[in-house]
Subunit: 319 residues, 4 copies
């Protein structure tokens, strides 16, 4: 009989700072390749230099490891969808699944045909359509949705200075014709209950929240720790709730690259167009990487590479 | 500081026979609900009684736990796709990904439009289209593909009596117009290199292999153990290879229910239309459940329920 | 040698009033069958009684034949797309075809996927998406688009009292989430040049114009007469322009029933959700029928029947 | 009051040979531009020189006018679908429409998604899928389908030498993976009643028939003359039947260019991949043009140009 495998959750065997240092070097050597594109549909995103890389790990005991530009702020964009999903599930529970499905999206091409085919029910809460419905649920169920979200993010990250970038939200609001289209299309099926403008205002606000890698790594910790938030000490959701949100991040968190991400990284993760990717090692840590240049599917090119290297160097892939 | 979590891989804390017994009872109480449908497109599948349930676990140390009809044979159908994928990857490595993608399929509706849109490149190796391309690769790279596959399955399961059901394969061949359509469509894009008939003959043969839950649980063990097969002692694929196949099972192994399966079960898994589902707890065990009645997405209704209960009772979900 | 066919354009052989009378009787006998549905997304449409039928013919010599409720006004809805198309073509000619295609739409299901697939270029000017682009062109090229359109319709119909129903336009504007979605989606591809709100305001205004069957039959006459409008004596478009607009009505004028309409009627025609259908017998007359109950593709059920009977009784199908 | 228009059916005003001569010159001047591509998926098509153009008109009195390579034979390919449709309608009448729809196809991209979406009912009898179902109907309802079709084509054209090119049919059969896919896909929905191989054999045979422009112009004459075939004196179908087939050619006869064809030509027409296009001027004549180079939608580039010029020079567009 062979001996049982070591506990991979025993990260005391790993020198995390050394690993982060190695990854940081490898990533920076790749800046010169100049691959990937910075999102440029609004100036606030287009103006971010591409030679940026930060990474932070928040362990369950509160320890944080970080490297590179881990204290530089950016708008969290679609990463916010993890948190509004958590709020929506806490408010209405499984009733959410009557209004949003939880399957992978297939491909970008699929988004609108799918909405039409499935009568206004978005495929999952991490596609824009699904996040707009989720935002509508939050609006309906919390007295002051903006204040609730701000408070939630400050408590998750332990950083009372987390705030929205009102100018950015306004700028996205004005150029976001496609999201306006999605919201109105969903509304035409009766799957938005609030005024379309109000829903979009809240949606663009959540995307505009400014945080850094350390803030976000800490803000993912509750999903690694059975729903218990380290910075605040609160039980944010149940252990089952955390498991389920992690599952959805695995199958739908990285736009249409979920298969590839599972293949190369193997962690629940959620990406945003600003180049941020948050991830979870269940039972072990929350993570965040940030690097602005994106691959053709909209995920941070070097952020994805960093997470790949991280799971391969640590053996912390869930697979 | 909170103490680190226990090692969830330390299954010595679990009474697996007791857990299987409980699941078996719960499942059998649900036989009367008479939900789900047995696949009926060929008599060999339609004739299987629906009040069957078997489940087996194969631990890395060789121990097997089983319950119910775990020694009753059935055709493995799409479960075979895991093994032909392994053979194809061993033969040509990453070159496979030029001919098959590795993203979730979206929805059933998507299958043909996707093939047309992506010029004959199937979305992943677990959809029928992708498995047909995988079968073509196996045919091209092994002298006697059928003998190779039989030998592979006998070695993985440790059961020298594993064999094909030639009558079943013939029956599926004759009624499988949709698979014939898929194969010819892929061929029209040049993405099959062998004769269409030969590819389909091999494809229907792999689906017709007859095995039981114990055979299949053992046959999954190499994916739990970094590529090392317990029954044969062989290193079937690398640790990286096993990780990657597990990742693909998570995002695409259960037809169009991968999101739901991750949500409710949280293990890499592959289902077949005969009611079998194989799964992997990385570092811990291979599993197989079998119950013929299917949900509307084609996965075993009570098999899925059993796996859900199993991960919730044991805490062995990867999330 | 057989003698050449009679001139089917010689309508002196037909007793048009008798034919209209017969059709009117046949249609009214079918009111009781109670098939079809009145559009009900806004009260102004839902409140129209379904037992209404009017029909009018406007010959090239100025003669009008009419029957039933041919003098009852209704909002012309999508029938207006014929006229805005004429205005857009007069303004920018073939440059329009860089922004709208001129192929049939396939099916309803196709509308958004097609827009996405073809990067914001609507399939034809008679789908809502195409009409929104056409409205944008009119807005860009005429100083006061609303006044221009009103003047155009008054001149075409010879009725100075044609006007918009501002309340109706407002009501449609508020409930028209799907059209708002379409407009924003097109805008996201850069294929609207004016403010989305302005384009939609004009679009809903054109749909709200109130006219009766006699007005509309006269307003189609220029398309039967090589571009020359009888009521005003103006050459509205060239003979080639009239031919082309007729061709587009044949292949795309009746939503997704163009094939069926060609099959059963065989005339260039354009329908609206209020139950109106305008049609053209080239070289002979403009027509209009109106009956509010719609078939499942959105065309007037009894209006289509009346046109079918008309071409069969007169031999005036173009086929 | 203006005088009624002249009878456009009075073609005595036209010098048809002069018009054909002018068109022939214009077309031949365009050979040098070398635009368009000859179909090259089989050698028999690829080997045809592109500098060929023929055109023939068959008037109702039996007169034929011709120009260029009007006596050079080619395989009629999809032009044959007009004739098998006529045979199928004569055999089972409107029951055909339960198995094939009669709407335009939308776009090429649509073909398979549409079949899947509409459960194996092809969109119209002129798409390959619809023609395969039509071929199945002919096979089911005529004792010897091949002999029936040959006899039909010889009688329609008045040419007893019309025959199939067995080598060509075999060659297409072997390379026609996409049509094999379509047939099996339709069969999987139960919408083929004969053996798939038999249906495809008949389908490829009908495509391989060898005829010239004069043969085909004569073979279209029954559709111009209320169903009465001039060469044979037979009433092939009713006047209503001829009207309906003409209507379907208008909305679906030129693949995905029906809108453009109505716009530029304005006649019921059916094209084939060999570069042939047949057309009908109702009440006046059958036509055929042939020139092998195809536009990107698969219609003869110069054939379409010739028909455009013909309707503009003669005023014989139906619009």
């Amino acid at each position: 009989m062979r001996k049982p495998p070591n506990n991979p959750y025993d990260i005391s065997r790993l020198d995390l700072d050394d690993i982060l240092g190695t990854i940081n070097e490898e990533v920076r050597q790749r800046f010169g390749e100049n691959r990937g594109e910075v999102a440029d549909y609004i100036p606030a995103l287009a103006d971010v230099p591409r030679d940026r890389f930060g990474m932070a790990l928040a362990l369950l005991d509160g320890t944080v490891h970080e490297v590179g530009n881990a204290r530089e702020r950016f708008s969290i964009q679609s990463v916010s969808k993890v948190y509004t999903l958590t709020l929506a599930l806490e408010a209405i529970g499984d009733a959410l699944w009557k209004r949003v499905d939880r399957e992978p999206s297939g491909d970008p091409f699929n988004s609108l045909i799918q909405l039409e085919h499935e009568k206004g029910i978005p495929r999952n809460p991490f596609m824009n359509a699904g996040a707009i419905v989720t935002a509508d649920v939050v609006l309906s169920n919390y007295g002051d949705a903006e204040a609730t979200l701000l408070e939630f993010m400050r408590a998750r990250s332990g950083n009372p200075e987390v705030g929205a970038d009102v100018e950015l939200a306004k700028s996205e609001r004005e150029s976001g014709h496609r999201n306006v289209a999605l919201a109105n299309f969903i509304r035409s099926y009766g799957n938005l209950h609030n005024d379309v403008q109000d829903v979009l205002d809240f949606y663009f606000l959540q995307c505009s929240l400014r945080m850094d890698c350390v803030d976000l790594a800490r803000s993912m910790q509750y999903l690694a720790d059975g729903g218990r938030c380290g910075p605040s000490g609160q039980q944010v959701t149940s252990a089952e709730g955390a498991t389920r949100i992690n599952a959805m991040m695995m199958t739908a968190g990285t736009y249409d690259a979920a298969g590839d991400f599972a293949f190369h990284v193997g962690l629940p993760a959620k990406s945003g167009v600003s180049g941020a990717i948050v991830a979870v090692v269940p039972h072990v840590m929350g993570l965040c990487v940030w690097s602005p240049a994106l691959d053709r599917k909209g995920n941070s090119l070097l952020g994805g590479y960093a997470l790949h290297r991280f799971t391969r160097m640590t053996g912390l892939s869930v697979f």
